[in-house]
Assembly symmetry: C2
Homo-oligomer: 105 residues x 2
DNA sequence: ACAATAAGTCAAAAAAATATGACTACCCAC
DNA sequence: GTGGGTAGTCATATTTTTTTGACTTATTGT
């Protein structure tokens, strides 16, 4: 309960949580887009026309909580919020690549 | 439809399918155990006391279909079936390690 | 002042993943 | 020929994840 990670599901494997997080819907696609440029909520919704607000909001929140994305409030003229890859997020890139490689063997 | 992979969900990222597969319940734990020794259905059920037949059966089938596990019928005295890691399955090991590493940063 | 955009939240519904418990079929030992 | 082990399947529940659509609050453009 006081374990500070997401649930008390007694994770048997250390990678399990991260794996589940990344496999969640829209996560991989969001990650992919974040690789190209910082993300903004509404823009993201337009880039993922099949997706819906709620799911995107949740995905962003979870990725942020996992410290893979960093949420920044841009205090410039069109005051807005940006999500960009953290170092930890970037460290995931080679892992994705390996998975992709393995996926099409 | 004729794409031979699991669904027609128009995967946007090549790694998505594999990711989703691996994140499925019991998968990581099964994988972990397969690393130690070949798996047998009922033994596995005993090793994962929280798990149930159906889910284990499905997990094994999916891992086999993804060619991460190989199913072998052992035609020896206690006639039985074994699931063991394929080469592709073994190739996943370093990826799991990387994920684990990243998970506890 | 009014409309549009940005970034969401909320309750409820629908869909997908997992779990339960009953049942098969096959071998093997006694 | 009965009891126990192996490897499952099946229909049905339950749980979790994802979607829908309505609503919110603040900022900005005209």
């Amino acid at each position: 309960m006081t374990t500070h990670n997401q649930e008390n599901t007694e994770e048997a494997c250390p990678a399990e949580g991260l794996l589940k997080l990344l496999a969640g819907k829209w996560k991989a696609q969001i990650f992919r887009l974040a690789l190209e440029h910082p993300l903004r909520f509404n823009a993201l919704l337009r880039q993922l026309p099949e997706a819906n607000k709620q799911s995107i909001a949740l995905a962003l929140k979870e990725l942020e909580e996992a410290e893979l994305l960093v949420k920044t409030t841009i205090k410039q003229k069109p005051l807005h919020i940006e999500y960009s890859l953290s170092e930890k997020g970037l460290a995931l890139v080679p892992i994705f690549r390996n998975l992709e490689q393995l996926a099409n063997i």
